[in-house]
């Protein structure tokens, strides 16, 4: 009896759930080979993995930006709040409250920071005052953007552009933000600053985050839960703290080892198989 209740509870609960999706680019390149994961309401979930593992593809299949790159979800389903979203346009999805912040920031370079932020509210049927409020909210979280609001986004620093991209997504009043590689090319200090703000937005504005990151160390520190993606498959999942303590994660993603410091000459011949492959 209790099991049934829990199953039902779990089934109703997942907020965003991805069920066994397969993604093929250009009809030939198989990138995701059956990925399943879920994000709870109000959570921060990290999607970790090396270059080319399929992190961005996973995010884009949720936000439906895949089709613009000739990718297609060929199997499986994606549900947000109990409704299938895999065949929706990005416009519909943003209206439902899911916005993606793309890898590499993608600010509108010739628009000012403020104009960039305002475009984020495009899908909202909001009055001028409401948009103004959201703008103030974003400036509140990102004081740096307020300072640079009249500058063309193309001339601002990488950190400011990342903030601009996140702020622009927040302007759509989202319930969930898909954050792709926010730490890319930024100084560690700025990365900390941005993650602090993400944590803050999560706590105070109840925005859920799914973030794809290569910077495993930072991501696991701020996320509640993590998935590790390798070659288009999820190889491991768990609470962020568990993952951070896992021997394999430490060894392959955090560069730590139980044997202490290693000389680089040894590293070169170091070929132990990952435990999850055996």
């Amino acid at each position: 009896m209790s099991t049934e209740a829990t199953t039902a509870g779990v089934r109703a609960d997942p907020y965003l759930s991805i069920n066994n999706i397969e993604v093929i680019y250009d009809h030939v390149i198989l990138v995701l080979k059956g990925v399943s994961m879920s994000v709870p309401k109000g959570g921060i979930v990290a999607l970790l993995g090396a270059n080319g593992a399929g992190k961005s593809t996973t995010l884009k299949s949720i936000s439906n930006l895949l089709r613009a790159e000739r990718g297609d979800v060929t199997k499986g389903s994606i549900e947000f709040k109990g409704a299938r979203v895999d065949q929706m346009t990005p416009n519909d999805l943003v209206r439902r409250g899911v916005v993606q912040v793309m890898e590499g920031r993608h600010c509108f370079g010739h628009l000012t920071i403020e104009e960039n932020l305002l475009t984020g509210a495009y899908t909202r049927r909001a009055s001028g005052a409401e948009v103004r409020n959201s703008l103030d909210l974003v400036y509140n979280y990102f004081p740096r953007l307020k300072e640079r609001r009249k500058s063309q986004a193309g001339y601002t620093s990488g950190g400011e552009q990342q903030m601009c991209a996140i702020g622009r997504a927040i302007m759509a009043n989202p319930e969930m933000v898909l954050l792709d590689e926010p730490s890319m090319g930024l100084a560690p200090q700025i990365v900390e600053e941005i993650f602090e703000i993400v944590k803050d937005l999560n706590a105070k504005e109840q925005v859920s985050f799914l973030l794809a990151e290569q910077n495993t160390m930072v991501a696991l520190r701020y996320a509640d839960f993590g998935y590790i993606l390798e070659n288009g498959r999820i190889v491991m999942e768990g609470e962020a703290s568990e993952l951070a303590d896992n021997e394999d994660v430490k060894e392959f993603y955090l560069g730590l080892s139980s044997e202490g410091r290693k000389s680089f000459r040894e590293v070169k011949h170091y070929r132990r198989r990952k435990r999850w492959l055996s």
């Binding site: 936000s63 930006l65 613009a68 000739r70 346009t89 990005p90 416009n91 999805l93 943003v94 209206r95 916005v99 993606q100 912040v101 793309m102 993608h106 600010c107 509108f108 370079g109 010739h110 628009l111 104009e115 960039n116 305002l118 475009t119 984020g120 495009y122 899908t123 063309q152 193309g154 001339y155 990488g158 991209a165 622009r168 997504a169 759509a172």
Partner: protein, 308 residues
């Protein structure tokens, strides 16, 4: 001096018309990255459709020929046709080509220009017509009496009309939500998509507006030179304007148009006699060529912002 002024002002006024056609190119190029070679054909199509309607409407409805009602009815019908043509082009020709290289899109618009010319002549016939806007092409008396300068009142009217249109479009781009979205799409399609800006709507709007601009340009030019096939070539004068002003800049299209208009008339009058005259038709291209060497992105073109 008076003669110089007269030539200069005449040139500037015709320059506003170049600016108007250039604006049609800029709008589409900015928002969708397509260089719409068919813009000239659209100008021709618009003018011919308007004239066609003014001819057939009195027969259909029994309204007085040449009356104001017929004029405005024909204008509205032509406007609707242009917007439909623009949106249909986007949907039928360009949407299937999304994500193709720019040269493919360019080739498609070249094909489109033949199609549009053909359809226009197929429906309305190929003979040259006159177009009457009700504004007489006579010198303004005040300027003649007081400053001894000849300025055509038609030119002045056309320039004012084009100026208002250009100004309102610039304001629309700069200050409205849709205008901002248009600029956003011009900057980065993918990012625009990611924040939920529906690209198809934006493109439909742009093509619709370009159709409207083509109609106004077609009416003015048709009234001056007659509605004929050559209208499609006159529209190509917009090319040097764009090279001068920059392909992505609304103010650039305006200033470029003025410069081209003024310089071609001045060159014709002052340089022409030394080389046997008739340089008005090619001088703008030479100017554009020289300009390309000095400032390839144009006067106001958006420079690539590169961060190092």
């Amino acid at each position: 001096m008076q003669f110089f002024l007269e030539v200069l002002i005449g040139g500037l006024l015709s320059g506003v018309l170049y600016a108007l056609v250039a604006l049609g190119f800029v709008l589409i190029f900015k928002a969708s990255g397509v260089f719409n070679f068919a813009q000239g054909a659209m100008v021709f199509f618009a003018a011919l459709t308007f004239v066609g309607f003014t001819e057939v409407l009195p027969g259909w409805t029994g309204l007085a020929e040449g009356g104001a009602v017929v004029f405005w009815l024909a204008f509205v019908l032509a406007l609707v046709s242009m917007v439909v043509l623009g949106i249909a082009t986007e949907k039928i020709v360009l949407r299937p080509l999304v994500n193709q290289p720019p040269i493919t899109l360019f080739m498609a618009t070249i094909g489109l220009s033949y199609l549009v010319e053909g359809i226009a002549q197929g429906i309305w016939g190929a003979n040259v017509r006159g177009l009457e806007l009700g504004i007489e092409d006579v010198p303004i008396e005040y300027m003649m009496e007081h400053h001894n300068i000849l300025i055509s009142s038609f030119d002045l009217f056309a320039a004012a009309l084009a100026g208002v249109l250009v100004g309102s479009l610039a304001l629309f781009f700069q200050y409205t939500k849709v205008g901002r979205a248009l600029r956003a799409v011009a900057d980065d399609h993918q990012a625009a998509l990611s924040i939920g800006i529906p690209l198809q709507h934006i493109w439909a709007i742009v093509w619709g507006v370009a159709g409207f601009v083509a109609l106004v340009a077609g009416l003015i030019w048709g009234a001056r030179n007659g509605v004929q096939f050559a209208l499609t070539f006159t529209a190509l004068k917009a090319l040097p304007v764009l090279i001068l002003g920059g392909f992505t800049s609304v103010p650039g299209a305006i200033v470029g148009g003025l410069i081209i208009g003024a310089s071609e008339k001045l060159a014709e009058v002052y340089v022409g006699p030394f080389v046997g005259g008739g340089i008005e038709s090619w001088f703008p291209y030479v100017l554009a060529l020289l300009f390309l060497l000095v400032r390839p992105e144009g006067l106001f073109g958006e420079r690539h912002i590169d961060r190092v």
